[in-house]
Assembly symmetry: C2
Homo-oligomer: 132 residues x 2
Amino acid sequence: MMKITKKTEYALIALKYMQSLESGSVANTTELSERHSIPRELLAKAMQQMARSGFIQTVSGAKGGYKINSDFTQISMDSFLEIMEGPLSLVICTEEHDCPIQESCNISKPLNTINAKMKLFFSNISLAEITS
Amino acid sequence: MMKITKKTEYALIALKYMQSLESGSVANTTELSERHSIPRELLAKAMQQMARSGFIQTVSGAKGGYKINSDFTQISMDSFLEIMEGPLSLVICTEEHDCPIQESCNISKPLNTINAKMKLFFSNISLAEITS
DNA sequence: TATAAATCGGACTAATTTAGTCCGCGTTTA
DNA sequence: TAAACGCGGACTAAATTAGTCCGATTTATA
Ligand code: FES
Ligand code: FES
């Protein structure tokens, strides 16, 4: 359990590789996928999502691809995971309020406390710890 | 993401309720499931798993059920989750060694470091924090 | 001693989530 | 204008999770 999804893993792999390139240089999805033996189309989704979120910049057209955003390493793992995979929460009632059994649920409060601590834990880990 | 499974949630709900009972008293699955509006058969699986793991004790036969094990609160959330849901790991290569892309994977080491920290985080949370 | 109430655990189905693919579109280079 | 690239929606496939069913065993009790 507690697995990150493949999409997120691929995103991290790409980020790490891009960071090893000369600053300002452009990497494209095909190259990234071949170099790391990961499915191109799925990686493409991850790249697009990161671009939308401002972690990387799109360079469109032929010879295009993505450039890394210089300050991305300051992003916390908490934010990164939430953007790539949605809210970090141990139970649904952390996010929504329509937990079907919440009335009779006796562990909602303590779990939400632990959840907050867990988020804090991940917010203290920067992407730089992974990609540098 | 990072959700615990329903089975684990049901297990915790049952534990918490059982702890509120007079010590030594027996609770059965039907009662627990009705009281908390959770699927009986699925809860039953959770109870059986906890019994096998020694968190609770089976009282078999008619008028049977489960008794809580006095020292269960000392269990860490890390152990509990691993027993209920398997290894806590952000990526498969934490558990096994046959990660298909591990050769070309550039983030395996840092993720494993973070994973170890995460396990430490959960090992510092006791079940008592949830069920007391 | 028969019956009912309970756990046990395997096998099964259904639902949900994750993984991966396909394709038509817009943009830019050459 | 053709080729190389990202965009994003729609789709299928695979895997995991949730939930159900049932036959077997144990025990209390009528
Ligand atoms: S209803 Fe959300 S933890 Fe139980
Ligand atoms: S192969 Fe395990 S993290 Fe990439």
